[in-house]
C-alpha cells in the first residue's frame, strides 16, 4: 500500500444507491377498486357475514375469512376520523411539507384509508371534519389512488367523535 493511502486510513463506508423495479399483480378484487379509480369512483366490497364494507376491495374479510363478492360503490363524501400534520422531510417524499395525512372514512364504509387534506389550514382541522374527494382531471385518471388529488372540506358541520368511535 502506498504511504499516502495509509495516511488517509481505510475506506469504511461507501454509498451504492440501488434501484429495484417490480411488477405488482393486483388480483381480482383489488383490480376492481383500481379500475374504479380510473373511472373516478370508489369501489368496495361487503362481507356476507359481518356486513362490513371494505374499501378498497380486498376479496376477503380479514375477520370472517370468507370471500367478499358483493360490490359496493361508495360516494365521494367522507369523514376525517383522525389525522396528523407531517412536518418531516425524507428521501422520496412527493408532497410539500407541512401536509395533513388523515384517516378517511368514506360514507358507507367500515374501514379507513389514508388521504391528503387540502383547502383548509392545518390548525383548523379537527377529528370529525367532513370532506369530499377531489379527483384529477378526467384525462389524467388512472388505476391508482393517485387519481384522488386530495380531500377538501365540504362545509358541513363536523361529526361527533362518538359517532365513529369504533373506527379509531
Amino acid at each position: 500500500m502506498a504511504a499516502e493511502e495509509t495516511a488517509q486510513g481505510p475506506v469504511t463506508m461507501l454509498s451504492t444507491p440501488i434501484r429495484l423495479d417490480y411488477n405488482f399483480t393486483a388480483g381480482v378484487a383489488q383490480s376492481k377498486s383500481l379500475r374504479g379509480y380510473a373511472e373516478g369512483r370508489f369501489i368496495g366490497q361487503r362481507c356476507p357475514v359481518c356486513k362490513k364494507v371494505y374499501v378498497p376491495s380486498r376479496g376477503s374479510c380479514p375477520k370472517d375469512a370468507v370471500a367478499t363478492t358483493e360490490e359496493v360503490v361508495l360516494p365521494n363524501t367522507a369523514t376525517v376520523t383522525t389525522f396528523c400534520v407531517v412536518n418531516v422531510p425524507f428521501a422520496g417524499q412527493s408532497i410539500e411539507i407541512p401536509y395533513i395525512t388523515a384517516s378517511i372514512l368514506l360514507d358507507g364504509a367500515d374501514i379507513t384509508f389514508m388521504g391528503l387534506i387540502q383547502g383548509i389550514a392545518p390548525e383548523d382541522v379537527e377529528m370529525g371534519l367532513r370532506v369530499e374527494a377531489v379527483w384529477v382531471p378526467k384525462e389524467e385518471l388512472g388505476p391508482t389512488l393517485a387519481s384522488v388529488k386530495y380531500f377538501q372540506p365540504t362545509g358541513e358541520p363536523n361529526r361527533e367523535v362518538s359517532t365513529f368511535a369504533e373506527h379509531l
Partner: protein
Amino acid sequence: MNQRCAVIGVGQTHHKSKREDVSIAGLVREAAVAALEDAGLDFSDIDAVVVGKAPDMFEGIMMPELYLAGALGAVGKPMFRVHTAGSVGGSTAIVAAHLVANGIHKRVLTVAFEKQSDSDAMWALSVPQPFSAPLLAGAGGYFAPIIRSYINKSGAPNNVGMKVAVKDRLHALKNPYAHLHLPDIDLKMVEESVMLWDPLHYLESCPSSDGAAAMVLSSEDVAVAQEKTTGRPAAWIHGMAMRSEPTMFAGRNLMNPQAGRDCAKDVFAQAGITKPRQELDCAEVYVPFSWYEPMWLENLGFAEENEGWKLTDSGATSLDGGDIPWNCSGGVLSSNPIGASGMLRFLESALQVRNMAGDHQVPDAHKALGHAYGGGSQFFSMWVVGSDKPE
C-alpha cells in the same frame, strides 16, 4: 413450558447513531461476546443461535443471518432467523427460550441488531405503492393519528407525552449504554423541539441507532452450574407469550389492540400475576413514541381504560419514587437499534431481576416484564422474568 429456562448472560453494545468502526458482523459479535462472558461460556459451548432483525430492506442485505454465522460462532450449528418487524427482538428471545424450555438445546445464544446508519428506515417504511396514496411518512406518520385519537378519547392533558419523553431521557442518564444522553432535558426542551408529526414533537420520538443485544439462555442444570462458576445470578423465565392480529379490519381498536391485551393476559396467567402494577417491580416496555406509555399501561392492564395517562402524570412510572417504574434503561425513546430494541426490553428486565442494572437498578427487583410490539401494532411479544425459579 416443559422445562425451566433462564437468562444466564446478557450483552449489549453502546448504542450510537453511527458505529463506523464496525460492520454489522462486528456489531453483533460485540454483543454476543459480552453475553458469553457474562454467562461464563464461550462460542464452543453454544448449541444453537437464534437471530432477529427488522426488515432486510433497512440495510439492504437479504438474509443477513447467513453472512453472520461466522461472527456468531454458528457455523455447523442450527441457526434460526425470526422476523416480526419491530417486535422481533422480543419474539427472537422467545423462540430461543422455546428451544430450551422444550428440551431441544441446553445453551442457546440469541442476538438481535440494527445498523440504522447503514440504512434509511424512513425511506424503507414510506415506499410509494400503487394501491395507496404516497402519504406515509415513516412510523411517526402512522402512529401520530392513533395518538391523537387516544388523547381525544382519554381526555389526557396535552403534556403527558412530553412528560414521558423527559422521564425516559432522565432514566437514560443512568444507563451508560443508552444512545441519547441529554443532561439538560426538561419539558421546555421537548416543547421547543420541532413538531415532526403533530401531535408528536421531535423529542417525543425515538432516535435512529446502531446497536445489538445478545442473551445466553440455558436449561436449569446449566444455569445453576454457571451461577456457581460466575457468581452472577440467573433470571428465570416465568412466562412468555406472542400474539398477532391483522393490521386492518373493521372495528379494530388501534389504540388498545386485542392482540396486546390477549398477550398480556396469557403471559401474566403463566407467571401467576393478577395485578401487574402491584406484583411486578418494574417493566421494560416498547415505547418508541412518548404517548405509547399511557396507551400500553392500559393495554397491559396496569391501568383501567382511559386512566393510563394518570399513572404517567403522577410519576408512578418514574425510577425516581414511582411505584411501578417503566423503562429504567431509558427505553426505546433513548436507544432504537430497531431489531435489537425489543430484545433490549427483554434483556433489561432480566438485568433488573439479577440485580445487575447498575445506576438504573430498581432496588430489590424480583419480577419484571419485558415487552415488544411491532409493525402497525400487529405483533406482540412479552415475557416475565424473576429472580426466583418459577414454581
